[in-house]
């Protein structure tokens, strides 16, 4: 394992120290328990939008803390959900009197820890709602399993709901909007090379030179299927077709297309894949009205990408375009 670290046990705190210095104008970092909050928190009478999850997915979530997006992020250990203490501290620090909306990616650990935190916050008289994101079409959804993972759709949901909260939409409105976005966003990813969790020291799986994993999540876990690598022209449809078939998306739909890098894939390849995806969508009569390209929800240094499609209407377009000022997304401010 080669990484720019000192000690696997302190990577998250060590990275937070750098982040705090790099973005002192946007965020404050609290270390025990670890919470990243926007500098001007709590914002009076604004719904606090709080998220969090394992570290290793940067810029998700701390890179999205700031005006127009998240009020706080709770970074867990690498690939491990944060603890209830962290989430509770985040809610306490950011509650401006209008309650808090927790955005939770659908993983057993995240759901259980956020659920416990929500109970603790409610016991303190803070109104808390939770919305679970589960947009990964690679996982078969079923009542009897843990269900789908939350992946790329989380980034879009945090931006859109963050914009609404900034405009003064109340807790009911923010919750309803979050459920709407979660209901019409779908994603799928692939990996060309695995990643190494610092404390594990070894790659999470091994792939031959001519193999790739289809249907991976963001935690270095193997995917549903190992297949031979192939040219981008047939690789992009392998992600896009299951997404389109799932919601389903069809001719006449307007969408936001998010082409995401997993951490180790250069923008050169991401733009190439994005171009193919746009062409395929145009062929199907689907209009791409907004796009996001880059590594925004990553899996350490994993080589690979994911595609996310969100069905848009005028409300969502407007909220997507609304000003945002965070470490990783910044426009209009």
């Amino acid at each position: 394992m080669k990484k720019i670290i000192n000690d696997p046990a302190t990577v998250v705190a060590d990275a937070l120290r750098g982040m705090e210095l790099a973005h002192a104008d946007l965020l404050d970092v609290q270390y025990d328990p670890a919470v990243v909050v926007r500098v001007d928190a709590p914002v009076p009478r604004k719904v606090a939008v709080v998220s969090g999850g394992g570290s290793g997915h940067e810029p998700l979530h701390a890179g999205f803390v700031g005006r127009g997006m998240l009020d706080a992020a709770c970074p867990g250990a690498v690939f491990t959900s944060p603890t209830p203490d962290q989430v509770l501290a985040a809610v306490q620090r950011t509650n401006g009197g209008a309650g808090a909306l927790l955005i939770v990616k659908n993983y057993t650990g995240d759901v259980l820890n956020f659920e416990t935190a929500a109970e603790l916050a409610a016991a303190e008289g803070i109104e808390v709602r939770s919305v679970v994101v589960d947009d990964d079409v690679a996982v078969k959804d079923s009542l009897h399993t843990a269900g789908r993972r939350g992946v790329g759709g989380t980034v879009l949901l945090e931006k859109i709901v963050g914009a609404a909260a900034e405009r003064g939409v109340d807790l009911d409105g923010c919750e309803a909007l979050a459920r709407k976005v979660a209901g019409q966003v779908r994603s799928m990813g692939l990996a060309l090379a695995p990643c190494t969790v610092p404390h594990a020291g070894e790659p999470s799986f091994t792939l031959a030179d001519d193999e790739m994993e289809l249907g991976i999540g963001i935690h270095g876990e193997p995917g549903r299927q190992r297949v031979p690598v192939r040219p981008a022209d047939s690789l992009v449809p392998a992600l896009l077709d299951p997404i389109l078939g799932d919601l389903p998306f069809g001719a006449g739909d307007r969408v936001l297309l998010f082409t995401n890098g997993m951490g180790g894939t250069p923008l050169l390849e991401l733009y190439l894949a994005h171009g193919i995806a746009e062409r395929l969508l145009a062929e199907r009569g689907i209009t791409v009205r907004r796009r996001l390209v880059g590594p925004y929800i990553t899996s350490l240094e994993m080589q690979g990408m994911s595609l996310t499609l969100l069905k848009l209407d005028d409300e969502l377009v407007e909220l997507w375009d609304a000003p945002v000022r965070t470490a990783a997304l910044r426009w209009g401010l």
């Binding site: 328990p33 959900s81 820890n113 969790v197 070894e202």
Partner: protein, 209 residues
């Protein structure tokens, strides 16, 4: 002879040593069908628990178990944090403020722990989780307690059953937790949480002898 607060604390220190020794094994098992953090998560939690016990051992077995619960919930994270935390919390509630635990109380605490894990995680036997180890352990513990066994006997039976239960997860396709994302590919691997449950019970049994 019953089980005092001091003995419960000693047993938990022993668990912390065993978790540290098996950290890599649990990480490896979790890497195969999960995300490779289970050993690290538990090691972080039990290390914190030992520091807390070094400072002060609460007065009753129930209070020691409660202290373990709050430490695990606030330090572990992941699925295992709330699940093991809830297990210890329910066990603590079930033993109340008794100064010593007899065989019946220990078996009852294990049952309460299982009920807590199921209430939080909603897993059933066969889903390939720690529930597959804990469920037969509770049954074995109860039957030994009911037939007049002592604390050591109850825990030895629980450990034995948990080890078999953990082994039984190997051929299963996971329906809960991260391993469920793998679908059929999760078969052929030992569930890390079931393995850690068996280790924990085996260690408790060893400390009770």
């Amino acid at each position: 002879m019953g089980c005092t607060a001091e003995r419960v604390a000693e047993a938990l220190r022993a668990v912390a040593r065993v978790v540290a020794e098996h950290r890599e094994e649990l990480v490896r098992l979790d890497r195969e069908i999960g995300d490779g953090d289970h050993g690290e998560n538990l090691n972080r939690g039990f290390t914190a628990l030992v520091s807390k016990l070094d400072g002060d051992v609460p007065g009753t077995p129930g209070a020691v178990l409660k202290s373990a619960a709050t430490t695990l919930i606030s330090v572990v994270g992941g699925a295992a944090g709330p699940l093991y935390g809830t297990a210890f919390l329910r066990a603590a509630t079930s033993v109340g403020d008794a100064a010593e635990l007899d065989a019946g109380a220990v078996a009852g605490a294990l049952r309460a722990a299982l009920e807590g894990v199921v209430a939080r995680g909603k897993a059933a036997v066969g889903d390939k989780t720690m529930v597959d180890a804990l469920t037969p352990a509770v049954a074995a513990a109860s039957s030994v307690a009911a037939t007049g066994g002592d604390v050591a006997g109850v825990l030895a039976a629980a450990a034995e059953a948990a080890e078999q239960g953990a082994e039984s997860t190997v051929p299963l396709v996971a329906r809960k937790g991260r391993a469920s994302y793998l679908g059929e590919r999760s078969a052929g691997h030992l569930d890390p949480g079931a393995r850690s449950t068996a280790l924990l019970l085996r260690t408790l049994a060893g400390s009770a002898r």
